[in-house]
Symmetry: C2
Subunit: 243 residues, 2 copies
């Protein structure tokens, strides 16, 4: 690259996962970033950080982002740091606190979506916890997914400044990008349950469509940089979990 | 009270839970705060917020804190907001980002500790998911608890500025208070597993003891304001989960 990257993202190179929430922010803002582990030698560089072989605070897990001399981990923490610099949230503290609050609730939803296929142990294969996964997924689909998405729908409806179009304030923010991702992710993983639920989420559905139509997002989703959903990521399509 | 409270904390009145991480910060700093739901009429006030009957962003769940006109939810978000005002983290952005990163990893640990007794559904009783709980707790105790606490032990060892005494920088912070809470919580919930693990956590053990000896924490722990651990909270002592 001719221009030096401002941000170096470290995340697993074959899945969307939590890293996708960061990628979407960088892509939407047109940021100069490198998805390090997808470059030659990148996995080794990532593992050096995780092994504590680099100065500074060792991340517990990917994703983490290097900005100058800072290394920042935890998805919502990364977004709270980069979003103001990318123009993806307002300058005022109340907006940032509200955005971060919603982002952390999205993090909780992502963790719960993950646990539908790994309810017992992250260190075991899905096949070794399939029975428990069916029970947990049944609850997720019947109770948690409607509750959490229903909450975001109400936040949209209640945000008068944004006229139901934005989760925070009167403008597009990184939280809208993350909301897009959980909508398409949950639709991928649980197409039947999602289809039943969708009529109750008109504002979230419209938000997802508006984000999907943003020019840089259109270009990103059509590019090889967008890793397709697959059954190694967080949102997995296992028909037995989507009754 | 003669002096008006600066902070109004809303959390379930009969458990430590996630709210305890906020209570510890307020208590350690000597902040003027009210634990609203433990006051007469407080539960009703809390439910009014959760029902969306108050202006501003509706919290998804307790804890949340009212500071002036702001209502802030999500434990780690609350701490990131109040800690600089309470003198519980430095003013510089790198310290705050590092503290928040560690706090979010502590949040993950708290969620995993919760899921040992609720691996299938938060809406079901423990008795209805006891079998799955035994499997999940076995993994938590054998793999996740050592991994997460071992990570924090390494962070302490690697923080040269703090000489192994503080998780962030060269001074006491709110993250140290939260580390104290997960240490005593995990020891309460899993006394056998914790006893086996403890020799490998000398720095975390010493940190817990130093926090427990801070004058305001001594006073708090001896007061009726500190709710005892019990089997409705996050850290529950079920012997069958602690083989």
């Amino acid at each position: 690259m001719a221009t030096r990257a401002r941000y170096r993202l470290y995340y697993w190179p074959t899945i969307q996962g939590r890293g996708e929430l960061i990628r979407l922010a960088f892509e939407d803002a047109g940021a100069r970033y490198v998805d390090v582990a997808r470059e030659p030698g990148g996995m080794k560089a990532m593992m050096a950080f995780l092994g504590g072989h680099r100065p500074g605070l060792t991340p517990f897990a990917p994703p983490f982002v290097q900005v100058g001399r800072l290394v920042i981990a935890q998805t919502a923490n990364i977004l709270a740091f980069v979003a103001p610099r990318l123009g993806l949230i307002g300058d005022d503290e109340p907006s940032r606190v509200a955005a971060h609050q919603l982002q952390l609730t999205i993090s909780d939803l992502v963790a719960e979506a993950h646990d539908t296929h790994h309810p017992i142990a992250v260190g075991l294969y899905y096949e070794d916890q399939k029975q428990e996964a069916q029970r947990r997924a049944a609850d997720f689909v019947a109770a948690r997914m409607p509750k959490l998405l229903g909450y975001l729908e109400r936040v949209l409806a209640g945000n008068r400044a944004g006229k139901g179009r934005f989760l925070v304030g009167r403008a597009h923010s990184y939280v809208d990008l993350s909301a897009f991702q959980i909508m398409v992710g949950l639709e991928y993983a649980f197409p039947r349950a999602f289809k039943r639920l969708q009529p109750r989420l008109p504002l979230l559905g419209a938000l997802r469509d508006r984000v999907a139509a943003r020019p840089r997002i259109v270009a990103y989703l059509a590019s090889a940089r967008r890793i397709p959903f697959n059954e190694d990521g967080i949102f997995r399509r296992y028909p037995e979990l989507d009754r």
